[in-house]
Symmetry: C2
Subunit: 225 residues, 2 copies
């Protein structure tokens, strides 16, 4: 049985496990980002990665003619900013006030960089690959309702606040961001939310606050495969 991925596109707790085994160096500084500020842009040179410790980041790519794809959201515990060929491959900006740790990510050409560094980078990158493959399944094979449900399910498990009769999730991103992440239009996302609300699976006190009333049925809708 294959259960390693059931938290979906967000990094799993194993990432933290890998991390705690490495020693902190003086290079690991912390940065604070106000909402809307960019951590890096697509094409930037970079030899670091970032661990989100507070807040929520948005990672997106914009194609030449303006189509935006939100590649991921960065929640506390996630590692973002993997440089490919020394360059950032996405934009990254803060949806809320956020804090990140800056971690070195130099590849030790000819023994220059540290081994622990490369091992940590490799472990984090492998987790990211798993997350992205899960997201590929969502984009390739799921309906709009399944996509939105999967999205909510992941957030619920990751950052849900339990309560007597619901699990509460804040959505710092706009409907447009969710749509861009799930490969849909904002109207379609909105309709999916409405459907879930009318089915009494969720409640929407405000557009940015979801209360999951029936996690089991949410899962049924999301994993309808």
């Amino acid at each position: 049985m294959y259960v390693a991925f059931d938290t979906g596109f967000l990094s799993r707790e194993q990432a933290i496990h890998v991390d705690t085994s490495r020693k902190r160096s003086a290079l690991e500084t912390t940065m604070k980002l106000p909402p809307g500020h960019f951590l890096f842009h697509q094409g930037d040179e970079g030899q670091t990665i970032y661990r989100v410790t507070e807040g929520v980041l948005r990672l997106s790519r914009v194609s030449e003619k303006g189509r935006q794809q939100v590649v991921a959201f960065g929640y506390p515990g996630d590692i973002v900013g993997f440089p490919v060929a020394g360059q950032r491959n996405t934009d990254c900006d803060a949806l809320t006030t956020a804090k990140v740790q800056v971690l070195p990510a130099r590849l030790p050409r000819d023994g220059s960089g540290g081994m622990a560094e490369a091992a940590f980078l490799a472990a984090a990158a492998l987790l990211e690959i798993g997350n992205m493959q899960e997201h590929l399944m969502t984009l390739g094979r799921k309906s709009s309702r399944e996509r939105v449900s999967s999205f909510l399910l992941v957030l619920m498990r990751r950052v849900g606040r339990h309560d007597r009769d619901a699990i509460h999730v804040d959505l710092p991103m706009s409907r447009a961001d969710i749509a861009d992440f799930l490969g849909l239009r904002t109207e379609t996302v909105s309709r999916a939310f409405t459907d879930l609300r009318e089915a009494r699976i969720i409640d929407l006190p405000t557009a940015q606050h979801v209360a999951v009333l029936d996690p089991d049925r949410l899962e049924e809708v999301a994993e309808a495969d």
Copy 2:
């Protein structure tokens, strides 16, 4: 300007660059796979990765209720089989007779594994992340014709054989595989091929052999973003 990803979902040549800088060890054996044979299955334990040297592999995931998603195709030069939490996260079988090199991919916990190994793994994983992000753009934001054109464009650049008035590409995978990779149905893929043929952008001597007659227009259709 951001140009690092224009080869799409297949690994870029930089991967080979990284590779040549590491020394070959006795652990690097070569395996030969007949068509249809599996290199590994989803859920297998594994501490290795594979470099394809000949042939074409298919990497796919099957969800519990049978929906298949082809995550990638492995062409010579590609690294496949990244273990996540020590497990394979896809099935991998050979579409043609194929050869792979077996490379170690242990994460050096407490200094056990080699540094060069971790660095190579990290470099390969980062390239894979870039490829997957490109594929995410395709699945999230492109029409069926754009998807099929993008697919052909990548193959053309990667394995196209030039000729006086066309670039020839073999398609060892079925229409169903292409559909599963692009998030479409086989009929839709077939119609996209027909459209491209009727537009004189490609020719289809057989279903498994594409001759790209007009690469520029193919690119226009693919990058219609």
